[in-house]
Point group: C2
Chain length 743, copies 2
């Protein structure tokens, strides 16, 4: 703010501000973007390229490259996210097994790979082979009995604690944004909020590493949220390479929407489900162009993952189910019942989890995140180990539960008594009475269910990467046991695996309130295309039941908890307020701070900026007429004045600021005027004071506005910002309007 006084009459410098000013058009951290402006800037850019491309062949090629760069970015995101997902899967597999033992052929083999390469493994028991040694077998001579069990138990806990500690430390030291599910924040970012670094390179690196660590540590966490976060980081990385995306926050968000689809695509091997997830759950602005690109990116990612083939079955499908038996009309009733259960469970989970997170936020509990993680990990490991259904990874558990009992199945769940002689065909398994193994399995599953429910409530929201999908998928098994005895002997029986699948869909539906995307993910996950109707019935019921208790899904609940300025597309605003009730200034408040088009000095403007903290100022013809001519952003005013003072000679404190097109001829001795029409938004959005708030909310939502001016018969009355809208909505819903925190 020095550099005053030097007066220089050279008029070629006067028009300096017609050149683009660096940094104009960017946003501050924790602020909301203006979608309409971003879009219009992109059209400008596009127009320039189109005009240029007619000039020469080289420019034409550059234009073509620019048009294709979107698809190239999608390709790169797909490739990187697919590769990362493959690496994560392999690493999790290895580290989960590392908690129990090691492969003698090479420590880098997981149990399955170890025994797969071994020739000694027989087909029906391919998970056991001499090369794979439990820790106890390696360390003490007597590899059976209580002492071995205790040693294994102890080492299991120690490994889990090591992984968890490493994870929480890495997150705290290197990338605090790498914690949590990431989906609430990504939803907020996609709706037009700026959180710098949330999708940065460090976050990408640390989140990938810690995701492997926490999933391996056995915590009740899934990887779909973190997958989406990782994919979005990839998206951000590649979009920052191209100025088309890096300089336009709106365009960048289109890439991120596609990246979110990629995240789900690789987490479940469900490309179409991923696209729908992005559309239904995460994205804010999802034009058809983004739909097609997401689709392409999800395809590339799924294909890359399939080439890496982490599950060793050359299928995209994570939990492929072999059964294709038809289901019966009468079964629709239990399916709907599962839906009801899922809805109730979803409500309960959201309430408990939010209560716990709020407590963590408000009490001193939140001050010891490392300790919290260690304690939860220890408890999880201690309780999980004795129960075979919780000891192994959740994916393995789900995979077993979804599957039908076949001839080769060694699982306890399939331990039906084989009292008839062995000549009977395999298909008759359902006819046999249940053996003791089934009953053991039943109560172990019941215990596992209770434990998983309780521990997940505490785990989700800790300061480590955490997902919810996979744990939710695991909450189903309890319900179907009551239906198991339905089968008439000899008849085609109900399929327990199907109930597991439907139950899982219902629970997930209750927690996240997804419908279409959930069903598509479920059948892409299992290959069970025949079961659309049961899955749909359960998902819709679950959503109805859960919505009856509260409209918010878990992600929206977390967004509200954190006070992000998120204007949900799903919320309906039905109150009878008008724009005049919401706009600032309210009755009794000082009048609106405005700029006039041609009679304020640089100093006046600087004083106004210093005295207020508004994000922008309307520009009027004169204070008397209050006729609006445009809107100037605070940030751009500051930058422009600073630039002019430093680089444009003759601009001093008492220079007059002109927002008009042609400043009048000034007397010779008056200081150089400052022309700021370039930073003036000549098409500010206006509504009349009589506009119903529901229309205003709709406009903010659909056009992605940051602020809107209120007029009455052509006179400027006030301003409504996105924060004002959110506060008003919170107030109308009897919530604390101060919970909306950012701008």
């Amino acid at each position: 703010m020095v550099n005053t006084g030097e007066i220089n009459g050279s008029s070629n410098l006067m028009d300096f501000l017609d050149e683009p000013i660096p940094d104009v058009g960017t946003y501050e951290d924790f602020h909301t973007i203006d979608w309409l402006r971003e879009k219009s800037r992109d059209t400008d850019r596009h127009r320039k390229i189109t005009i240029k491309s007619k000039e020469s062949v080289w420019e034409f090629i550059k234009g073509l490259l620019d048009a294709w760069s979107g698809w190239v970015v999608m390709l790169l995101i797909g490739l990187l996210a697919g590769t990362l997902a493959g690496v994560i899967d392999l690493a999790v597999d290895w580290m989960t097994d590392l908690k129990e033992g090691i492969c003698l052929d090479g420590f880098w083999y997981s149990q399955e790979q170890c025994c797969w390469t071994s020739n000694e493994a027989t087909f029906d028991d391919r998970d056991k082979c001499p090369q794979w040694q439990k820790w106890s077998e390696l360390m003490i001579e007597k590899s059976e009995g209580a002492s071995a069990y205790i040693l294994n138990y102890f080492l299991y806990i120690m490994w889990a604690l090591t992984f968890a500690f490493l994870a929480v430390s890495l997150v705290r030291v290197f990338a605090p944004y790498a914690c949590g599910s990431g989906i609430p924040e990504i939803k907020t970012i996609l709706s037009g909020f700026i959180i710098r670094g949330y999708l940065g390179k460090w976050t990408l690196l640390i989140k990938t590493v810690t995701l492997v660590l926490v999933v391996s540590s056995g915590l009740s966490l899934g990887k779909e949220g973190p997958s989406v976060h990782v994919a979005c980081c990839c998206g951000n990385l590649f979009s920052s390479l191209l100025s088309k995306y890096s300089k336009n926050e709106g365009k960048r968000r289109e890439v991120l929407s596609a990246a979110a689809a990629v995240g789900v695509s690789v987490a479940f091997g469900a490309p179409i489900g991923g696209v729908l997830f992005s559309l239904e759950e995460v994205s804010y602005y999802f034009p058809l162009k983004t739909l097609w690109r997401s689709f392409f990116a999800a395809l590339v990612a799924a294909f890359t993952l399939r080439s890496i083939n982490p599950f060793g079955n050359s299928r995209l499908v994570l939990f492929y189910v072999e059964y294709h038996t038809p289901w019966y009309m009468a079964e629709l009733f239990p399916f709907i019942l599962l839906g009801v259960f899922g809805g109730l469970w979803g409500t309960l989970f959201i309430r408990c989890n939010i209560a716990w997170c709020r407590r963590r936020k408000t009490t001193s509990l939140g001050k010891y995140p490392v300790l919290e993680v260690i304690v939860v990990t220890a408890i999880t490991a201690i309780i999980a180990y004795p129960n075979p259904y919780t000891r192994r990874s959740t994916s393995e558990l789900i995979s077993e539960l979804f599957n039908d009992c076949g001839a080769l199945e060694s699982s306890q769940l399939c331990d039906y008594i084989n009292d008839i002689n062995m000549t009977r065909p395999v298909d008759d398994i359902p006819d046999r009475p249940a053996g003791p193994g089934v009953y053991t399995a039943m109560w172990q599953l019941a215990l596992a269910l209770v434990f998983k429910i309780v521990i997940t409530i505490f785990t989700f929201g800790m300061k480590i990467p955490s997902g919810l999908f996979i744990p939710s998928l695991a909450y189903h098994h309890h319900d179907w046991i009551i239906f198991r005895n339905w089968c008439r002997p000899g008849a085609d029986c109900v399929t327990p695996g199907l109930y597991a699948m439907v139950g899982a869909a219902a629970c997930l539906g209750g927690v996240t309130r997804m419908t279409v995307s959930l069903v598509v993910i479920m059948f892409e996950l299992t290959g069970g295309l025949e079961y659309i109707v049961p899955l749909m019935a359960a998902a819709v019921t679950s959503k109805w039941v859960a919505d009856a208790f509260g409209k918010e899904g878990i992600y929206e609940a977390h967004i509200h908890l954190n006070g992000y300025p998120f204007l949900d597309v799903k919320d309906e605003f039905t109150h009878r307020t008008l724009a005049t009730d919401v706009m600032r200034p309210r009755r009794g408040e000082p009048p609106l701070s405005v700029l006039t088009q041609d009679n304020m000095t640089v100093e006046d403007v600087e004083t106004l900026i210093k005295d207020t903290d508004y994000n922008g100022f309307p520009v009027v013809v004169s204070r008397d007429s209050e006729r609006l001519i445009g809107f100037a952003q605070r940030r751009e005013l500051i930058i422009a004045i600073k630039n002019a003072r430093q680089r444009q000679d003759g601009v001093v404190s008492n220079s007059v600021v002109y927002f008009t097109e042609d400043p009048p001829e000034l007397p010779a001795n008056s200081p150089h005027p400052l022309k700021l029409r370039r930073i003036l938004n000549l098409s500010p959005f206006t509504v009349t004071d009589h506009t119903p708030m529901e229309t205003v909310v709709d406009i903010f939502r659909k056009l992605g506005l940051r602020q809107c001016l209120v007029t009455r018969s052509g006179r400027l009355l006030g301003i409504i910002t996105k924060k004002d809208v959110l506060r008003h909505m919170a107030q109308m819903a009897n919530q604390d309007p101060e919970s909306i925190m950012f701008n």
Copy 2:
């Protein structure tokens, strides 16, 4: 306009206009609705119900019923559309077979049903049985040889002509709107255009009957477009039962969007594909709420259809494929090639079809629609009969082509020479050299391909119900024959059926430019979930190639051909024009017709209405200040003035019209004033004259506006209507702006 002069001083009649005026809030035929206004009216209604529901238990129940009525309507649409689809399928089956012969057990059996009930049919030849008699067998003694062939040929043509003549006559006499695919019009209606009767009861009835007739007549037409039209008619029917939907054009369109999903759901047994089709291709305003409801309705419809079970296989899937063999990386290349072919074919088809339709519209050809249909049917039947692949229904053809050769397959396509003895297992079919049957089949298929391509171009757009999906699906077979010889003996071979599937997807993608919904429909249609990647690759390639030659899909091309005022969401507007370039009045034109708030008489207003044909008039404070206070619709002005003159005493031609809140006290002898604030829209949409047109287009699109006022520094300058926007866009794209026809 009589009834003047009677002056009555009773002031209780003065406020008559505070009561709702009948018909205010409705629209004229062939006009565009204002989405924002419809939405705000619905919120008003909702608010009233919420307030009332707190008054008594009965009102509370009524409120609940109102909230659930949307789901009930969905249920009803699903049930009716599912039933109709089942009936149509059965009727088409029967009537297609009627062209060739009749069942002796009962004339109402189709060939398959006839032989199904017969015990004499053997399993591998279940389509032939003594009960089923060809016409020649029934009518002449010598049932083989040339004369029998000619008799059958002749009767085949006669039946086809009868069906086609009946269809075209029914359409012309009873429901002219029942012709064509319906999808272009439904897209236009969903975007907010009014075409009364297009979705009426008569259209529903006639379209259902004629759809059966034309599909049976053997014309190269599918049933997906008409299915969507029929389902939308059902949607309209049920929504007219509830005032919530019948009185609000915006809400009604939400129901229609869901109905479109139902249409596809029953046409293909693809509920999720249907929802995506509605989202990607047809709908304009598709909030998440509609997504969920469409999903539910599509589920109910698919389920109803499954219960009727018209295909006799208790599957939802129309062309269920049994193969689940994996595909190879190297195959991706031919898949992409198929995509390229599909894109080229799509471009060619659209250009030829539009050229033909334009010629029909502009020349005297269009005056003889009945003759045209008869000629095309005759040509189709004459050429189709000798070739077995075109004689049967297209669905049967597709079903055969999609399927792999199995042991029981009697098709010519599977006639591989079985020169090795019969002990070889069935799986080895690909190893055998192709027999003469295969080569015969090849050239028959090639001929069928050429014929189908040519005839469909002429058929689509005739004055009968016509769909495009199924014919497009049939255009694939030619391509995969070149890949057939790839197979190494003994190795797992490429699956010809898969190529057929991918080829079909590519062609459809080229014609309609669908991507995600197409892939989902394809795998719901075939059950081939493993083939997502090939299908996606072909669909995306096809879209790229076709888009390179022109952005319009077949439906958009037909919308443009008909001049409907459709503002496509996909079109990008990138020109550098401003609102001031588009608004009326242009430079040199007479000034904007405005109303003033308090100094015009009833007669002035009536003269203004009579002299202009604008749809509405801005209301300003005074002609000098030009400060805008609101907007009055022409239709509502006329209704209000007519009402007042008839029913409100004291309103005469020289009564002053007041748009202000409180009209001033008038001298005792002056005529009664007319207060019209009630019909004034106090929150008209305004933009400044500097607003770039791309923003204006965006606002029109996203908010569904009908018109928008242009201001400069608070003064009213002009008006932009949707038609102005469309005309401007046509002009910028070097098209004839006069091709936009309606308001």
